[in-house]
Amino acid sequence: MSRPHQKEKVLRLYGCFLKCYPQGYRQAFGSQMLQTFKDHYSDVVELDESAATRFWVAVVSDEVRGILREHFIALKERTSMNTTWIKQGLLFGVLLGIIHIAYDLILNLAPANATLNSLFNNGILLVVLIFCGIAGYAAAHKTGQMKTGTYAGLFTGAMSIVIGMSALFVITFVFMDVIRQNAFMLYDFHRSGLKSIDQFIVEDAMGAAFVGTLFSLLAGGIVGTLGGYFGRAVKERRLAW
């Protein structure tokens, strides 16, 4: 077999080792590793063919260790990244959930007041946006990855909606008597044309749950991504500085 042909085969064989490394590592160092291997092979085996066995034993043992180590490190990094967005989502989701509970209690049990109602409705929307954004920012700032911001925002929205909506249904059934007396509820009930106010109250809660879920998930995804963008940018700027 001619030398260039053999070298080509050897490089293809080494390329198989490179394919076993994690993708990010391979993209960063694959071509350099192939070049270094080529230099090393030319220096050792092409000058002294009797050294081939020793050379390959060393290469295989080093590459196997390297591949295992890099996969372990990549797994650890992934785990740590997942833990970060779950932690941020959980923290801000629970806080937002508590605010949702307060909102449900005030809106359903306090005497009807148009100004306050409008203030609370707009306020809760703003709070959802802020919390999802901060969760996204914090997660991306820690990991340096924008996508963890999206996940943290989404998880915050989902977590808060689970808490908030569960609370809404509990409040609805426990305080049905009080809610029946709510002036706004009575006004909306008369306009709805339904025969039973209890049925109207439950349907109203279900509507709120549907709209709330949709808004929280949308806001979580979008604002979490935006927060993630800023979190990553600030981290990168700080590192560069």
């Binding site: 590592y25 960063a28 160092f29 350099q32 590793m33 070049q35 270094t36 291997f37 230099d39 090393h40 060393a58 290469v59 043992s61 080093d62 590459e63 196997v64 260790r65 390297g66 591949i67 180590r69 890099e70």
Partner: protein
């Protein structure tokens, strides 16, 4: 920015790579050869070990990418050089080694060892 205390003591592989880069920027295979030469063949660094260490050293800011160059054989190679932190970490580690050698001498742990250090 990281401090020297955050990155020291160095592992033997990292120390050898920093030591090889102390005389100037090098590409992967040059580092590999220099390490082998500096350690009289006691440390033979394979590709996997070398690039795994380079990756961690880049993220620890001990070394940095010095750009790509086309060498005499028309091959394009990426070069690495020490950062300020890398230089300080290497100095701190060499100082530690030197203090150990002086202690070995003082306690006569290696009979016949004679080292004299003159600080300017």
């Amino acid at each position: 920015m990281k401090a020297v205390e955050d990155v020291t003591p160095l592992t033997p592989a990292v120390f050898s790579i920093l030591f090889s880069l102390a005389t100037g920027e090098k590409h992967g295979y040059e580092i590999m050869k220099q390490v082998k030469q500096d350690t009289q063949g006691k440390i033979k660094m394979g590709n996997g070990t070398l690039y795994g260490s380079l990756k961690r050293m880049l993220s620890d800011e001990l070394i940095e990418d010095a750009g790509e160059k086309i060498d005499q054989d028309s091959e394009r190679r990426k070069y690495y050089c020490l950062t300020e932190l890398g230089r300080k970490a290497l100095q701190a580690e060499m100082q530690r080694y030197l203090e150990t050698v002086l202690l070995i001498q003082k306690r006569q742990l290696l009979p016949g060892l004679s080292v004299k250090v003159v600080y300017e």
